[in-house]
């Protein structure tokens, strides 16, 4: 068939997007495309709108119209006959696709708040996910999305955690647990067959927050659960939800589902993660065309069930700080999990305060839709967190609990950016803290050797308070610490003192830390040197996602508690298997 002039001058990518749009259309999507009456009722539902007054380009219907106009021009007959009347317009160039990317990835977290507030039933978030999928299919996407998707395709998990690192983390957590409970029977069973529960996690837990794995193990142990973790296919997150790539979504889920079946698991328990739960429990059976033969539940439901069945006992007085709860958009608005976490919270802490609005009307943490991996939009994301910050502040709570790892990161950034006096934690941590274990946990004996005794560490940070804090904690635990206020100073100290470890803040003035990192790595005299990156500035996150040839030995996120710092440093120094 002969191409029209317009088709001939359209870029290849734009043509592919137009063609693939036609293949992606189902009745639900078409309904959302044609039913909008431009009433504007959804405008104020969006946290981007509320935090950026006067900028209508953040309005959900405006954003939806960017893809709707292409649909109308090519697939809706009114738009084909009278394009000027209904705002139909085709897409011609790659630049226009880039603009669409900016809206689709950079101005919406797919939180679905507008969808729930549209009287016509227009589900913009689903339309936007489809738009992302179209753009991804022609290679137009934020760099972080490309990297994370690649990791999930190639390594089976979205943070590129290697199997040996994952297994080592489980071993480490098991030893810590046995040590804490003084009970060698406390285990993290791996690949055990025919268990009642197969536990799947977010790779963030293995990489940055192993404490949540340890806490979950403690709860399973206390409940006497017959459980296991798979050595492979353990990642329940799914970047396909964020990138709009159903193929990736289906492949990731199939891997996990197959693994549970191979192990003969009766139930898949999904750790506290909003998008992980939504993907695995709700969307993945559709993406993967998989009729899942086993039960699935969120670990929030599991923990609550244990309390109700009398399998675990809690002492809520151990969590006495004022606590509020942030609903993950995916859990509350897309999966209806709103009451279970509250029920559990009331059992596990003494001062729970609701934030307003809440449940399915709660505002996004700003980190949804994969936003944490799109560092180019970080300033915009943080600005749009204003409404969340106000909401948090109004509670007067000191702790915000959330059942989602993305939300932990999103909220941490908001809290830091708006200088709120709060910390973020998850239910699993509170439950583990409140857990009453019949056999008293061993009181740690004072050991002669401090946990970091004999270790030489260079700490580099340009913030004097932070530098002092890091140095003091490590010195208190027996390390010899050298302080550097810049990357270059750190380099000089490392060459002079030949320490076991250097910790680098990513955002120091002077020479870029990435460059310092490369110099350290390429120096043959520093071969055994461990390097730990400490990130404080969210906009520097892209460095985490950019795969360096030899990755750092560890990453730590600021703000750091003393416990997390010690634990992280010991892990990097491979001291974790030694008795403290």
């Amino acid at each position: 068939m002969k191409k029209s002039t317009a088709e001939e001058s359209r870029s290849h990518k734009a043509q592919v997007v137009v063609d693939r749009l036609g293949k992606k259309l189902n009745r639900q999507i078409v309904g959302s495309m044609v039913a909008c009456v431009h009433c504007g009722l959804c405008t104020d539902s969006c946290h981007y709108v509320l935090s950026n007054p006067g900028d209508p380009t953040y309005a959900p219907a405006y954003k939806a119209d960017r893809i709707r106009k292409i649909f109308k021009r090519h697939y809706d007959w009114t738009g084909r006959v009278f394009p000027w009347l209904v705002g139909a317009k085709t897409v011609m160039t790659d630049e226009e696709l880039e603009e669409l990317k900016d809206i689709s990835f950079g101005k919406c977290t797919n939180c679905r708040r507008c969808s729930l507030n549209c009287p016509m039933g227009v589900d913009f978030a689903t339309m936007n996910r489809m738009t992302r999928g179209l753009l991804v299919s022609v290679g137009i996407m934020p760099e972080g999305v490309a990297t994370v998707s690649k990791d999930q395709w190639e390594l089976g998990n979205q943070m590129g955690v290697l199997k040996e690192d994952y297994l080592e983390t489980l071993e480490w957590m098991e030893e810590e647990l046995q040590d804490e409970l003084d009970d060698p029977s406390a285990k993290i069973p791996v690949d055990k067959e025919d268990c009642a529960v197969v536990y799947s996690i977010n790779p963030r837990e293995a990489k940055y927050d192993p404490r949540t794995i340890g806490d979950a193990a403690k709860i399973f142990h206390a409940a006497g659960e017959d459980w296991t973790m798979p050595s492979d296919g353990w990642d329940m997150t799914n970047f396909g939800l964020f990138s709009g790539d159903d193929e990736l979504g289906g492949a990731v889920a199939r891997h996990l589902f197959d693994r549970v079946q191979e192990l003969g698991g009766k139930k898949l328990v999904i750790s506290e993660c909003g998008h992980g739960y939504r993907s695995t429990r709700c969307e993945a059976p559709n993406w993967a065309k998989y009729d899942v033969p086993f039960e699935m539940e969120s670990s929030v439901e599991t923990m609550l069930r244990y309390v109700k069945e009398g399998r675990i006992k809690l002492d809520k007085t151990r969590n006495s700080k004022p606590v509020t709860f942030h609903d993950s958009c995916n859990l509350a608005r897309s999966c209806g999990i709103t009451e279970e976490p509250r029920e559990l919270l009331n059992l596990v802490c003494t001062d729970f305060r609701e934030m307003y609005p809440n449940r399915e009307e709660n505002y996004c943490c700003t980190g949804g839709g994969g936003a944490m991996s799109m560092s180019e939009y970080t300033p915009r994301r943080l600005k749009s967190g204003k409404v969340k910050a106000e909401q948090l502040k109004a509670t007067g709570a000191k702790v915000v609990v959330t059942s989602c790892h993305n939300c932990v990161d999103g909220l941490t950034d908001v809290i830091r950016h708006y200088e709120l006096d709060m910390e973020v934690t998850q239910l699993v941590n509170l439950v583990a803290e409140a857990l009453v274990i019949e056999k008293p946990a061993r009181v740690p004996t004072v050991v002669e050797d401090l946990p970091l005794a004999g270790r030489r560490i260079v700490v580099a940070d340009d913030e004097p308070d932070q530098l002092l804090y890091l140095a003091t904690v490590m010195e208190d635990y027996g390390a010899t610490v050298y302080q550097a206020a810049s990357g270059d100073e750190a380099l000089t100290l490392v060459r002079k003192e030949k320490p076991d470890l250097v910790t680098l803040d990513l955002a120091m003035p002077g020479r870029p830390v990435t460059e310092i990192y490369e110099v350290l790595r390429s120096d043959s005299e520093l071969e055994g040197l461990k390097i730990c990156i400490i990130t404080g500035r969210p906009e520097m996150r892209e460095l985490i996602y950019q795969r360096m040839e030899t990755p750092p030995d560890g990453y730590l996120d600021k703000p750091l508690s003393e416990d997390d710092l010690l634990r992280g440093v010991r892990k990097v120094l491979e001291l974790s298997h030694q008795e403290v």
């Binding site: 009745r27 431009h38 705002g87 509350a332 399915e360």
Partner: protein
């Protein structure tokens, strides 16, 4: 009554109605040719939610302004919505009453009620137009069809108010305007956003069913409305 007015009240309306019906059928056939996405997910949520309850709740949503934050926090917009759509229904009914049951309009009270209902819808139309033109957020999402449809309906309400008494003693122009606008409206609607009500049952059905599967609909209300 002149022959021209008689033609406008009968033949013109009938032709326009048939045209509208044909285009509507085509529209629905076109829409239904898109396959509906399947749901393989198991049902989640408490026993109070289910796919069936979900879509019923979703359909009933239109009559529950408290259910959504967007209508709960903007009661005046909801009232406008109700008045506007009452006016539309009444003005459509009027286009059948005048030619087929004119005796009804001999009741002065009924005439007054109809004029009030349609008159209020006219005022809402004016208010909506002002909002669409003056609010930068509304302007940013408006197409020529949005302005034109609203103007058309508002003008139609105006002539409908005048047409309600069905009195041509002082001239037929107001009745002619009302019936010609009605005919134009019937022909134009299937091409414009006014046809949204065709899709409404489908969009709310699918959205509600999906939300029902996921334990979101019907929404559970538990001490939640401090700010709303």
């Amino acid at each position: 009554m002149s022959d021209f007015l008689h033609f406008s009240e009968h033949t013109l309306q009938e032709v326009a109605l048939v045209f509208m019906a044909c285009v509507y059928v085509t529209r629905i056939v076109w829409f239904l040719r898109f396959a509906a996405g399947k749901e393989r997910q198991g049902q989640t949520g408490s026993g109070a939610t289910s796919p069936t309850k979900g879509f019923i709740y979703s359909w009933a949503n239109v009559a529950m302004p408290w259910a959504m934050e967007s209508t709960r926090t903007k009661p005046s917009l909801y009232v406008q919505f109700v008045l506007f759509h009452l006016g539309v229904t009444t003005a459509i009914g009027l286009s059948f009453v005048i030619p087929y049951a004119p005796a009804l309009l001999e009741n002065g009270l009924l005439v007054l009620i109809l004029q009030i209902v349609i008159g209020l819808a006219f005022l809402v139309g004016v208010r909506r137009f002002i909002r669409r033109v003056s609010d930068p957020y509304m302007r940013a999402i408006s197409t020529p069809d949005d302005y034109f449809s609203l103007l058309l309906l508002t003008a139609w309400f105006f002539f409908a108010v005048l047409a309600v008494p069905n009195n041509s003693a002082g001239g037929e122009w107001h009745l002619l305007m009302y019936f010609w606008l009605t005919a134009f409206f019937l022909v134009y609607v299937p091409f414009s956003k006014i046809s949204h009500y065709l899709y409404y049952p489908f969009t709310r059905f699918y959205f509600g069913r999906s939300m029902g599967y996921r334990g979101v609909y019907p929404i559970r209300r538990v001490h939640k409305a401090k700010t709303s």
